[in-house]
């Protein structure tokens, strides 16, 4: 604010902060380009080829629609089953992991364990399970379950920790037992949050289950990697369409539910 009739919309201090931030970002950006030395010179050629591949994909080959739909059903089943199992397990464990209703060491143990599981991406868990159990949907369900479970424990226990201390205090004062406090004081206020987190995770599980096949866990991803390996783009086009429709349908469905949770709080 230099003169009274030149009112800054963004405060002066904020402005310098922004400037510094943007210069740092530009610096990192340029450095990354130099470091990676991307093949952009031959890139134009690549784009032309990509265009060719995509136009080939658009000439979809529906001939094996039965197999593709069956594989899609398998992927969807994997996602649903993994979500149900992990939500059910996480529901019980989250009470042990929430600091305000559990004992310190127990909460610390579950938080540490689930943080460790979450650090490893779903696809890598599945890769590990495939290495141990062999190919098929079974290691897919387990891999997806593992990561979903850890994710939901964190989400659920965070919701439990947001419950007002007064609720718990009030029930304690009436002499309620621990399960009674949970059932009457803790669960009712967080019911919608629990459902929202589960729905959000289900959305994620559907899109993930469709690519689990790339590491050998069956489903539609397996079909996709098979046809891509043989450069059969017109068949791949149809498979990608099915994957798109599946995840698009779920997104549409859940947009109506208006999930009131902030994803940025948790990963």
């Amino acid at each position: 604010m230099k003169t009274p009739n030149n009112v800054a919309i963004v405060p002066e201090k904020q402005k310098t902060l922004y400037t510094v931030f943007f210069f740092v970002v530009i610096g990192l950006y340029v450095y990354s380009f130099i470091h990676l030395d991307l093949a952009l010179k031959s890139g134009l050629d690549g784009f032309v080829k990509t265009g060719g591949i995509i136009s080939e994909m658009l000439h979809m080959d529906f001939s094996e629609w039965k197999e593709v739909l069956k594989a899609a059903g398998e992927s969807l089943s994997v996602a649903i089953l993994a979500t149900i199992i992990s939500a059910a397990l996480a529901f019980f464990v989250s009470f042990m992991a929430a600091a305000n209703v559990s004992s310190g060491i127990l909460a610390w143990f579950w938080k540490g364990l689930t943080a460790g599981i979450r650090a490893v991406p779903t696809l890598i868990w599945t890769l590990i399970f495939v290495a141990y159990l062999g190919l098929g949907a079974f290691p897919g369900v387990l891999g997806l379950c593992f990561h979903s479970f850890a994710y939901l424990v964190k989400a659920f226990s965070q919701s439990i920790e947001e419950v007002k201390e007064g609720n718990i205090e009030a029930l304690k004062a009436t002499g309620a037992s621990w399960p009674q406090i949970m059932a009457r004081g803790v669960i009712p206020p967080i019911q919608t949050a629990l459902i929202s987190w589960t729905a959000l995770r289900f959305e994620f599980n559907v899109s993930t289950s469709s690519i689990l096949g790339l590491v050998g866990a069956g489903g539609i991803g397996q079909e996709l990697s098979l046809v891509m390996r043989t450069y059969n783009f017109s068949k791949a086009g149809f498979i990608i369409l099915v994957i798109f429709l599946m995840s698009f349908g779920i997104e549409m469905l859940f947009n109506r539910l208006k999930l009131n949770v902030d994803k940025r709080k948790l990963q």
Binding site: Y18, S32, L40, V78, L81, I128, K263
Partner: protein
């Protein structure tokens, strides 16, 4: 009063039981289609634990020099894809958000485009790019950019739609042009939101690049898959730990930046 309350409760419990029944039914049906055997799962669990504890641990610290450059590649890939994605997404989001769109038709087209990008997994994009660009970092960056755009267009547009419309009105009422409305009315308000979502995306991209590498996108993911396939599990563990540390570092950093900017 009592009599009005009872039927409501009955109705509610009917809903609950139908819900429970439906969930159980779905569990059985999906369990059947995936041939999932719960007893088998419980039975193999100790074996898996043993496999993880003895084969993957302790992590091989001596592997660090092997993947350090891949880790830097991953970070650079995430930075390029986030910044590129954010710039393109900002332009598209401005064209798509309700207060700033030039025409409702543009809005519909961009939304459909973003939905296509978002609902086709980045891994599938990478598979499409591999035959055209060949295995390498270029593929990884391109797939990450498209994946990032899918979600960022949506989040940015939502951020723009949440702004206080009064400031747009104010700039317009003094005769501001479209650009002036954008520059003085819209952008200052949504910058914090845009930066926050971009930082979130940076974290997601670092995580995603571990799996992009599996289909030929370069970076640390290639190293992880390569070592698992060669049964060098302990090296893979070390690489996973390194990625986790990188993610935690970005998380902490972006939290600080968010607090300063917001």
């Amino acid at each position: 009063m009592q009599s009005a309350y009872i039927p409501l409760k009955k109705e509610k419990s009917l809903y609950t039981w139908t819900g429970v029944l439906l969930v159980l039914l779905t569990t059985v049906v999906t369990g059947y289609t995936t041939k999932f055997d719960a007893f088998e799962a419980v039975r193999v669990l100790p074996g898996i634990m043993d496999f993880i504890l003895t084969d993957f641990l302790p992590p091989a610290a001596e592997a660090v020099p092997n993947f350090l450059s891949s880790l830097l590649d991953t970070l650079c890939m995430a930075i390029i894809s986030t910044v590129t994605g954010a710039i393109i997404s900002l332009v598209l989001a401005l064209l798509c958000a309700a207060p700033t769109t030039p025409h409702p038709a543009v809005r519909v087209i961009i939304r459909a485009f973003a939905s296509c990008l978002r609902n086709i997994p980045a891994l599938a994009w990478a598979m499409i790019f591999v035959p055209a660009f060949g295995i390498g970092k270029t593929v990884g960056v391109m797939a990450l950019v498209l994946g990032a755009m899918g979600s960022m267009i949506r989040f940015f547009a939502e951020t723009i739609e949440e702004i206080d419309l009064g400031s747009i009105e104010a700039v317009r009422s003094v005769g501001g042009s479209y650009w002036q409305v954008l520059k003085n009315g819209v952008l200052p308000q949504c910058f914090p939101g845009i930066i926050s979502w971009s930082l979130y995306n940076l974290e997601l991209d670092i995580r995603a690049s571990t799996i992009i590498g599996m289909v030929g996108g370069g970076g640390i993911g290639f190293f992880i898959q390569f070592t698992i396939k060669l049964f060098k599990y302990r090296q893979a563990t070390m690489a996973i730990i390194a990625v986790t540390l990188l993610v935690l570092l970005t998380e902490a950093l972006s939290k600080r930046i968010r607090e300063r900017i917001m």
